[in-house]
């Protein structure tokens, strides 16, 4: 049993747990969160499984597929709990796909996917940890920091 978090429970919303320690702010940055939404963040929370982890609780927000896909790139270990009326109604791990399509732009300015053609950028995941993607068009590899910068 993991030690409980000293931040308040939420009534309705989403808990993003098991974020690698130090990545919470990066995760938060890629989520679309409106100004009147309450967010609680736990940073360097002790975890049996991970040593330390980050946790984010967002009031009255349910994640879209594209947001889940982006989280999977930054925090492949993350688990998502959907809270309704203080109860967890659904809990799942994010899923790092084999191919990343349309979420990340290729950092190579000479890549055909940056030339206004009607295609989505497409990458093969060649390593999950540390994250490395390879563009199927120009074959360039992108590191985790490249990916985070282009999300």
């Amino acid at each position: 049993m993991e030690r409980t978090l000293k931040i308040s429970k939420i009534k309705d919303g989403t808990v993003i747990d098991h974020i690698p320690s130090g990545k919470a702010v990066k995760v938060l940055n890629i989520l679309k969160i409106s100004e009147n939404t309450s967010v609680s963040i736990g940073i360097r929370v002790p975890s049996n499984m991970m040593g330390f982890k980050d946790v984010i609780k967002i009031e009255n927000k349910f994640l879209e597929k594209i947001e889940l896909d982006k989280i999977s790139l930054i925090a492949p270990s993350a688990t998502i709990s959907i809270i309704k009326d203080y109860d967890i109604t659904e809990k799942f791990k994010v899923d790092l796909p084999e191919s990343v399509i349309g979420i990340v732009r290729c950092t190579n300015q000479n890549c055909i996917t940056n030339a206004g053609e009607p295609v989505s950028p497409e990458f093969k995941v060649i390593s999950a940890n540390p994250l490395a993607l390879k563009c199927i068009y120009c074959k360039r590899e992108m590191s985790e920091s490249d990916v985070i910068n282009s999300l």
Partner: protein, 305 residues
């Protein structure tokens, strides 16, 4: 099986595909009169879309199709063509595929030919798309080594010059990793093979790096010379100093063993002394000539004669 397939990267080819292309190229070379008479690609149309100039490559594809009895349509200078003016490559391909049976594309942007293949039901041949993949050039290089030295396995291949920017060299080295060869890389440190290429092949190939050609020239079966581009040097004196130490002259040729060959993807500038052209080692013009049977073979295998 290559029938109706695009050729985007040399990695798309199985070893058997490469052998089939070479065997058919041998047949075509040996039976050119018969091929010209029977016109196996009669009624087929090849389109060339060159978004950057490479006259030799375009002429070689067009001559190959003409010799097979097919026809060629060609985009005019990409700077004046309405195709180039704001239209996406995807749209151009959708139109040109309805005019032709096979499309040869050269484009400055990386991955352009893969993109083209996604918008075309007709096969695409990549004739260079910025990424360094130029698979027909690589096939011609391999074919030349095979035919001029009697095989590819067990050869000692020395690649000299610009190994950093000379991207056809990267493609050749990757392709050579299919064979049992020894590769010597000779270049100034500033033009050495990039790590990302080296790391990809160092476990598959017997490959070593040298600073001096003299260290390896006597054991070399194939001396592959690449162009050192003057434009890469801010200080032109640096260029002339480098060219001086890597230039192939009769002095180098005299150190080479019997039956060894010299190759160069051409155009050659200062890297090979013209006096070398008349030695029996010089095979770079043969290499260029091999472009015809190899491309004829590839086109007929893809279009299935």
């Amino acid at each position: 099986m290559l029938k109706n397939k695009s050729l985007i990267s040399i990695a798309d080819l199985e070893d058997d595909d490469i052998n089939a292309i070479f065997e058919k190229a041998d047949y075509i070379s040996g039976h050119m009169d018969e091929v010209l008479r029977t016109s196996p690609m009669k009624s087929k149309i090849l389109a060339t879309l060159f978004y950057e100039p490479s006259t030799r490559t375009r002429l070689s594809f067009e001559a190959s199709m003409e010799r097979l009895g097919g026809s060629v349509i060609s985009m005019a200078d990409s700077k004046t063509s309405s195709f180039a003016k704001g239209e996406t490559l995807a749209d151009t391909i959708r139109i040109v595929e309805s005019y032709s049976d096979i499309i040869v594309i050269r484009h400055p942007l990386e991955g352009a030919s893969l993109l083209a293949s996604k918008f075309s039901s007709k096969p695409i041949i990549n004739a260079g798309d910025g990424s360094g993949e130029h698979p027909t050039q690589t096939l011609i290089d391999l074919y030349t080594i095979r035919n001029e030295t009697g095989g590819i396995d067990d050869r000692e291949i020395t690649i000299v010059g610009d190994l950093k920017y000379g991207r056809t060299v990267h493609s050749l080295i990757l392709a050579l990793s299919r064979y049992n060869v020894k590769i010597n890389l000779v270049s100034p440190p500033s033009l050495a093979l990039p790590n990302y290429v080296y790391n990809g092949i160092k476990d598959k190939l017997n490959i070593e790096t040298y600073n001096n050609l003299d260290d390896v020239i006597s054991g070399t079966d194939v001396l592959y010379v690449t162009r050192i581009q003057k434009e890469r040097f801010v200080d032109k004196n640096e260029y002339y100093k480098l060219i001086g130490s890597y230039k192939i002259t009769l002095n180098e040729v005299n150190k080479m063993k019997n039956g060894s060959i010299i190759m160069h993807p051409l155009p050659r500038v200062d890297e090979i002394d013209p006096a070398v052209d008349y030695t029996k080692n010089a095979k770079y013009f043969r290499q260029a000539a091999n472009g015809i049977p190899v491309r004829m073979s590839l086109i007929s295998i893809i279009l299935g004669d």
